[in-house]
């Protein structure tokens, strides 16, 4: 069992008063997680003691920085159980990771008429990069339906798979429903020999990740949702696959030889990391991973799952609340609406009570259209949340309903 009180002590911001001198109740980890002191301190220490640019220098600070950066890569590799650190590319965000694979993959494998399968519950960051590819290569983007529980409609998904399918790219854990993708979906792709990309933005911080057991070919996530600094993301791809792909961006650090006639590129992972990387941010991600590992990803996951069910139980008893998607298979994220009250009102009302939740379309407009909603309110949990906080939240929901529908 996690010692949540101790954990909360590790997060400086959780011990702050915000608006109206209320204690902060942070229920917006799905948008971005708060940072433990050790991550903040290590950024400080890096800049204060060891900082220089990576890879290209011979002097001591450059060596230290390079080692710290490459060490972070190894930590990420172990965290998702990748085979090799050559499979771990640092980007600025999951969004960039998806743009990277979309561009590199498409320029090698996508032709007119080819098809890429997404689902209607994807985040815009897993839709727009593919739309841009569609415009360039005249391929088709197909959207698998979801059922009323907030899971992929497997029959429909299966019906979309064909000879023309070149890639499947889907969210591992929905940032609206909190649902986790069914393993059968991944298996279907594996069986059909279709490469599959999992958008692990939400899953990486909530459930243990093993890319090999999962059977995904590509996996992406953002550091900032995993208690790490902003400005760093991860792209994972199976070595034999990404070895074949052309680079995405060009610049320093990714070339073997350059003349005015042309250039040859270095080996993985540098091939995909043009320019000075977000090196302190990557280091910070490594520190965050250490922190998470020390507590135990399974323990964190269990705690959050328990909290989710605790909240669902209480929310179900509120007849003025609509919860989106079934309660089963929900992890850390709950989207809901108060009947006849717009999510903005809910969020502003809770904000004044010190409670941070998100309101809006959550960068999932196609899903909102599918649900015939224009926005929802969403609470999401991190390792630091407690049942007490849920109680305060539930109470605030009641007050909110009273205020707006009196």
């Amino acid at each position: 069992m996690l010692d949540i009180k101790k954990i909360r002590g590790d997060f400086p911001i959780l011990n702050k008063k915000i608006l109206n001198n209320k204690d902060l109740i942070y229920l917006d980890t799905a948008a971005s997680a708060q940072k433990p002191k050790v991550v903040i301190d290590e950024i400080n220490s890096f800049y204060s003691n060891n900082y220089a640019n990576v890879s290209r220098g011979v002097h001591t600070l450059s060596v230290e920085s390079t080692f710290k950066y490459e060490d972070a890569r190894k930590k990420v590799q172990k965290f998702i159980n990748a085979d090799s650190e050559r499979e771990i590319i640092f980007t600025k965000s999951a969004t960039e990771s998806i743009n990277l694979i979309a561009n590199s993959f498409a320029s090698k494998y996508i032709n007119e008429g080819d098809e890429i399968i997404l689902t209607v519950m994807e985040h815009h960051s897993n839709i727009i990069p593919w739309f841009l590819i569609r415009d360039k290569y005249k391929c088709k983007i197909l959207f698998a339906n979801i059922d009323s529980t907030g899971n992929i409609d497997q029959k429909h998904f299966e019906s979309l798979i064909s000879e023309k399918t070149k890639l499947v790219s889907i969210t591992h854990l929905s940032n609206v429903f909190g649902t986790i993708v069914n393993q059968e979906i991944i298996n279907m792709c594996n069986n059909a020999g279709i490469p599959i990309l999992l958008d692990g933005c939400q899953s990486a911080s909530h459930i243990p990740i093993d890319v090999k057991t999962l059977g995904c070919d590509y996996f992406v996530f953002s550091g900032h949702k995993l208690y790490a600094p902003t400005g760093v993301g991860v792209f994972y791809g199976k070595e034999n696959l990404i070895e074949e792909l052309p680079p995405y961006q060009g610049g320093g650090g990714m070339i073997a030889d350059v003349s005015i006639d042309g250039a040859t590129f270095t080996d993985l992972p540098a091939k995909f990391e043009a320019g000075t990387p977000p090196l302190v941010e990557a280091y910070g991600l490594g520190v965050a991973i250490d922190y998470v590992n020390e507590l135990g990803m399974s323990e964190i996951s269990e705690h959050e799952f328990r909290l989710t069910n605790y909240a669902l139980d209480k929310m179900q008893d509120l007849d003025f609340v609509d919860i989106h998607g079934a309660n089963e298979n929900k992890h850390s994220i709950i989207s809901f609406n108060i009947k006849n009250v717009h999510s903005h009102e809910v969020s502003s009302f809770l904000d004044v009570e010190g409670i941070a939740i998100r309101a809006g379309h959550h960068c999932c407009q196609p899903l909102m259209k599918h649900l015939s909603l224009n926005s929802t309110a969403r609470l999401s949990f991190g390792m630091y949340n407690t049942e007490d906080e849920v109680d305060i939240f539930i109470n605030a929901l009641k007050k909110c309903r009273d205020f707006f529908t009196k």
Binding site: H344, G360, H361, S375, F403
Partner: protein, 144 residues
């Protein structure tokens, strides 16, 4: 109940938010524009008719939105109906100043105005876009 919330959601806001006035489409109209808040997906469609004396003879809106955006649109239509365009534009700039917290040098609006009820939005900077959505639609319709 909390003061900030009470200031944001004054009676008149809740009232107009729940039962917006001038909801619908002007027939005929010679100006129209869509308003959109990309943060949340809220949207509205504004239509109005300007006669040949440059007076806004009729103005209506439809759409979906939060109480702030609906109330703001509703109060806007009440305020602008019957106004000449140049006055309407002055009201526009006064209003945007009011809700973004700089309410010192207003030219045409004063504390008696029902629009003043939206002043509390200044305390919730992320809601300014809700309050101004209809107004920006008005402005862009004028240009069209």
């Amino acid at each position: 109940m909390n003061d900030l919330i009470k200031e944001l959601y004054q009676e008149i806001i809740l009232d107009h938010g729940q039962s917006p006035r001038n909801f619908g489409e002007c027939d005929p109209h010679n100006k129209s524009a869509d308003g959109h808040n990309p943060l949340c997906g809220d949207n509205l469609k504004l239509t109005f008719y300007i006669n040949n004396e440059d007076v806004i003879e009729d103005i209506k809106f439809t759409g979906e939105g939060c109480a702030i955006s609906l109330a703001s649109a509703s109060l806007m239509t009440e305020k602008l109906k019957g106004k000449k365009i140049d006055i309407a534009e002055e009201i526009f700039s006064d209003f945007t100043n009011l809700v973004s917290g700089s309410s010192e040098d207003l030219k045409v609006l004063n504390e008696e105005d029902s629009l003043y009820a939206l002043k509390g939005v200044g305390g919730f900077p992320m809601r300014v876009k809700c309050a101004t959505m209809a107004w920006h639609a008005f402005k862009s319709a004028l240009k069209s």
